[in-house]
Subunit: 195 residues, 4 copies
DNA sequence: TATGAATGAGCCTTCATTCAT
DNA sequence: GATGAATGAAGGCTCATTCAT
């Protein structure tokens, strides 16, 4: 396996193809054509079609979580961190709609049929959110009796649904505009009473 | 084409099979076996495999929305209605985990590849939530500057994510227990300032 | 097996259906619908779909030969007989185009795949022609060195091709008009030298 | 899609298989086995089973007509041309009985159900015969009031029937022996009176 | 390493035939 | 006898994967 650029090219091609047709309606040869290589070449870098999807998830989710971690690293205030997480989430979706589409639509299938291969990476994102919420509790900004796991899933689910609607819909508006609303509502919902 | 029970039996069998393997990993003959009939018989009631999934979505979503409408009909208070919607949502998921799995996992694929056949039914559910929020705004219980559409998607997304986690996870806890938390956080998030 | 009219009705329906779609593109249920009965009923009168075609051939060919025999019975002159055979052949094709179509198109398949079941009936038609030619030889009107079998097949083939062209074409002319030409050319071809 | 020999091999295999079982009783996998390739390979060269038959007709008929044209190119005398056409027709049938069988038996089905795809090629053969007859009329060897279209179909039908009988029968004689008889009878039938 | 022709297992769908009513 | 719902074998076609070049 020589060309270290090929797997990346294949993944990027797969993202575009899966976004267009979905995993099960995409042929390996479609990905090859999109990547400008021969179908057989794909098998020099991936053992099966499944492995493309699994790798895709793993790499992209890891990248994503890395970016989120960077984004919030500079912030001291937990509430500000939440604000940045939501803003970044929506910015990423808007910047990479094809990737967004794949992750939104295929992730669930994926979690079920591809051996939860991306489970670790997905849960890392949940961890970032959960950790931030815990921080806020300790800082007294978030109510201390907050069921953090539930709240984490709520925030993720809320962002995910906004993203899904935007992706599946006509994209006739700026998703980023929703970020502030989402943050406001969520933070009010979890805030400590006195705040 | 007589037996009026057959389509129902086939749909129920399909739910179980799709929940187990996913739509694309299920064979028509699997559905037939699960339903206790011959594969050919399915084609007396459905034209294609796709049509089974589309019909499944349509019927189950319509049923679901019907139940939700009934559930909140008795309540006067919009906040109480939201509470009941969330509670019913989770009760339904727990009561019909296979259906839940199918809807959770396949719906997105579905929205994209099965002609948005269930679009109307799904959006009916969104409408119920949105209408209830509007009511709350008029009643002064929910803040009047609330972006209703965003809030609607947030609540749906939050419930959906909790459900998905529960379905894909080990189901090692009572999903209903989360209902109260979800309601509390959400309602606090959207409540009018003075409340 | 009660209703003695049913087999006949089924055969007539089959002729229309086969003429429209060909044997292999026709369903048993198509024949049943055309006959105004249920598909299962057909199996009270015929054991298989094949048997319908075989019976159809046998009965119709026998009928045909019977008519031809009647038609020429009144004629003394062999040449006149040939003239009548050709004229009747074309009249029959025009009068029963659906039957013609089936016989023209399916007969060859039939001869090969349905066990030559209609071989006897078809060859009876050949016999009528051959016998008439022999008669003409004896009467000195047809050249005595005529290879009767070849000439018989030639006349049949000629009529058959005219009929096929007419059936497959637009039927934009009167087939009967060709009868005289065919007869003239053929009789000239086989006539005794001095005639 | 490279090997330029494959389509030819597949066509030749198909001819043998169709000759044995007929089009509708032949499986694609039968053709593949006969050609010594995998069933899937056929679909690299033909889109459907139908297309095999259509291509077969088109190519073989074009070849046939080309050969006929060559055969008569050297002859000046129209009657001699007819003689050669008939002789070649029968020689071809004898040399390629499988092809003959397919063309004889399937052509009619074909003309009806495969979009008349071979219509042009078949009618090219009719044209050759018709043109030759016209030539004979101009040369004064064939009677000038001859209905050329009818005579053309008669000759074709006659040859076709002889061929069919030989193909479907036991082939217990030399078909070529019939050529002279057919020519003699036909030419006498269409000859100008004084000749 | 890259190619893409070849492979063949797999699945949806059709439809002749059966049989309970 | 008549029905038509049910059956299930069969086959066309697809496409992930292999391998000779």
């Amino acid at each position: 396996m020589r060309d270290p650029e090929k797997p990346h090219q294949i993944i990027e091609a797969a993202i575009r193809v899966f976004a267009r047709n979905g995993y099960y309606n995409s042929r390996v040869s479609d990905i090859a054509r999109e990547a400008g290589i021969a179908a057989g070449t794909i098998y020099l870098y991936f053992r099966t079609k499944d492995e493309i999807l699994v790798t895709l998830f793993r790499e992209k989710m890891a990248e994503w979580v890395g970016l989120v971690r960077e984004e919030i690293a500079g912030a001291r205030d937990p509430l500000e961190k939440i604000r940045r997480i939501v803003a970044l989430h929506f910015r990423m979706i808007e910047a990479h709609p094809a990737l967004a589409e794949v992750v939104q639509v295929e992730l669930r299938q994926g979690q079920k049929f591809f051996r939860g291969a991306s489970a670790r990476e997905v849960s890392a994102y949940f961890d970032v959110i959960a950790d931030t919420l815990e921080e806020g509790v300790l800082a007294g900004q978030i109510k201390k009796e907050l069921p953090v796991k539930v709240a984490t899933k709520m925030l993720f689910g809320a962002m995910d649904q906004l993203a899904t609607s935007w992706v599946l819909g006509r994209r006739g508006y700026r998703l980023s505009d929703a970020a502030e609303h989402v943050t406001t509502i969520f933070l009010k919902g979890v805030s400590a009473d006195g705040v």
